[in-house]
């Protein structure tokens, strides 16, 4: 990258490090960091949508919807963590392929499960066998996001469901007394007020979500853990200009610091958000703000 990097063997240690950290392979590590942030940026809203849907279903007046909402929340929350991540990726993949198989190859007569194999027709393969490498990678990332969204959606649904129930009953009764319909009460009174009750839980979830991102590695995405392992391993002088011993420890230390930084920034941001949301609310936080202002 730098002009003095032409012959790494002659450099002093500081400049050697500067050259080493800007090799093309390290660019992969930095992109992977962006992938983690992208995952967070996409998953958080997606999980919120799943969660909002789940919470709405759980308080629906229709019994089947209510059963579905509560079932979704309690099944996903009750089963241990990473099993779900390992399970959903295969299950979703097979589910998509199965649906495409049914639609695209209706006259296929062999069974899909042949012993230990899962076989669908060539047109139903996801992604298609002929497609480019980046499509495969994007598909893997998409499956990961969907898995995260489903799992975190259930936790979100639980938090939002609790928050909706925490909004003072009198507020809703007042809305009804003013002649608002159920829908109007929900969107105009309940939803704007529930966030302050939901925020501590959602903030907690956000922290958990940031800490769950390294699991991308288990889902087969080439994420920061993958690259840290790849780059940190012993580099042989025969294959690289920058030979070094086993440096995985330092790479993982860097990841540790990255995540600690992420946590700290989130903590500060959430504190600020909480103050903002507490304005004018009938909670102890809002009361404290009101007293401080007068």
């Amino acid at each position: 990258m730098f002009s003095f990097c032409a012959d790494p063997e002659t450099l002093d240690s500081l400049r050697w490090l500067a050259c080493y950290l800007t090799t093309a392979k390290h660019a992969n590590l930095y992109t992977a960091t962006l992938v983690v942030l992208a995952l967070l940026a996409i998953t958080a809203p997606a999980a919120m949508i799943f969660g909002f849907g789940g919470a709405m279903a759980a308080r629906s007046r229709l019994l089947p919807l209510r059963v579905f909402g509560h079932g979704y929340i309690s099944i996903v929350r009750g089963v241990p963590d990473i099993a779900f991540f390992l399970f959903f990726v295969i299950a979703l993949d097979q589910g998509f392929e199965w649906i495409r198989h049914k639609v695209k190859c209706p006259d296929w007569d062999e069974p899909i499960r042949q012993g230990n194999d899962f076989i669908v027709c060539a047109e139903a393969k996801l992604p298609l066998g002929t497609s480019a490498q980046w499509i495969h990678e994007t598909y893997g990332f998409f499956l990961a996001v969907l898995t995260f969204a489903i799992v975190f959606g259930a936790f979100c649904a639980n938090v939002l469901y609790g928050a909706m129930r925490a909004v003072p009953r009198a507020q809703l009764e007042t809305a009804e007394a003013y002649g608002m319909s159920r829908r109007q009460t929900f969107w105009r009174i309940l939803v704007p007020q529930m966030w302050v009750y939901a925020l501590p839980g959602l903030g907690n979830l956000w922290m958990v979500l940031t800490k769950a991102t390294p699991l991308l590695f288990l889902l087969g995405v080439e994420d920061i853990v993958y690259w840290a392992r790849e780059l940190g391993g012993t580099a042989n002088p025969r294959f690289t200009d920058y030979p070094h011993g086993d440096w995985r420890m330092w790479y993982f230390l860097a990841l540790l610091v990255f995540y600690l930084g992420l946590t700290r920034i989130s903590e500060i941001a959430l504190d600020r958000l909480m103050i903002r949301l507490s304005h004018g609310q009938a909670t102890t936080g809002g009361e404290a703000l009101r007293k401080a202002a007068t």
Partner: protein, 268 residues
Amino acid sequence: MSCWQTVQDYALRSLGIGERLLPREGYTLCEHFTLIGSGLIWNIYFGVLALFFGFFLATTVALGKASKNRLIRKPSEWFIFIFRGSPLFIQFFFFYALFLSLKSRFEIFDPFTSAAIGALIVLFLNTAAYSGEIFYGALRSIPKGDVEAADAYGFTGWTRFRRIIWPTMLRLAWPAYTNEAIFLFHATALVFFSAFPAWQQRGDALYYASFFADKTFNPFIPYPIFAFYFILLSLSVIGVFALINRRLNRHMPKEYRARFKPRMNLIR
């Protein structure tokens, strides 16, 4: 091969006792149940020992964080922040690499690269940080009157801590600590999926579950079995902790007793 034969062959497979070769074909339901159950021994080993040792460190760290002395408070705060603020997954990777490089320099660190010791240390430190935070919270919510009463009776120093503060702290922290224990058992499933290698294919429950899922390409049998075992494990943890909770609360009138509310966490 009968199911009983399979149980004899594989029930202690995760400890290296019994049949060495894993099944190669067929993959009956009985094999699923036996091997995944066999792997559960590791989860219990990690969970129980990490909880036991972590409990003492957690108490120390909680007291440290509540201390007025800066030199004690700051290290405790940092310890808690580092282990709670970073993913357990990365901690496993980091410590494994750390133990590896220490091993190449000092011979004593040789056993630390195995999952049995190395991963246990990571889990121990991790749960100590999480429980430390819980205990610290409980320490701060001990009713003022209790401590004042202890002072009035002339309790000081160690006796005051041992007789008044510590039991009250445990009593208040217990429902949250139960969650932490369940959560820790769940976290043990990460061990063989991060850095620590499974020696001679002796892994934990999830290791065998994913072994079956890989071989049969059918996630719908091994993972639900795994989930079934973990739900049983969680229920027994809740049971044991409820007994301790009852003992801690035995002097309290019924309506003041802290109740355990299961709050499943996801990942740390």
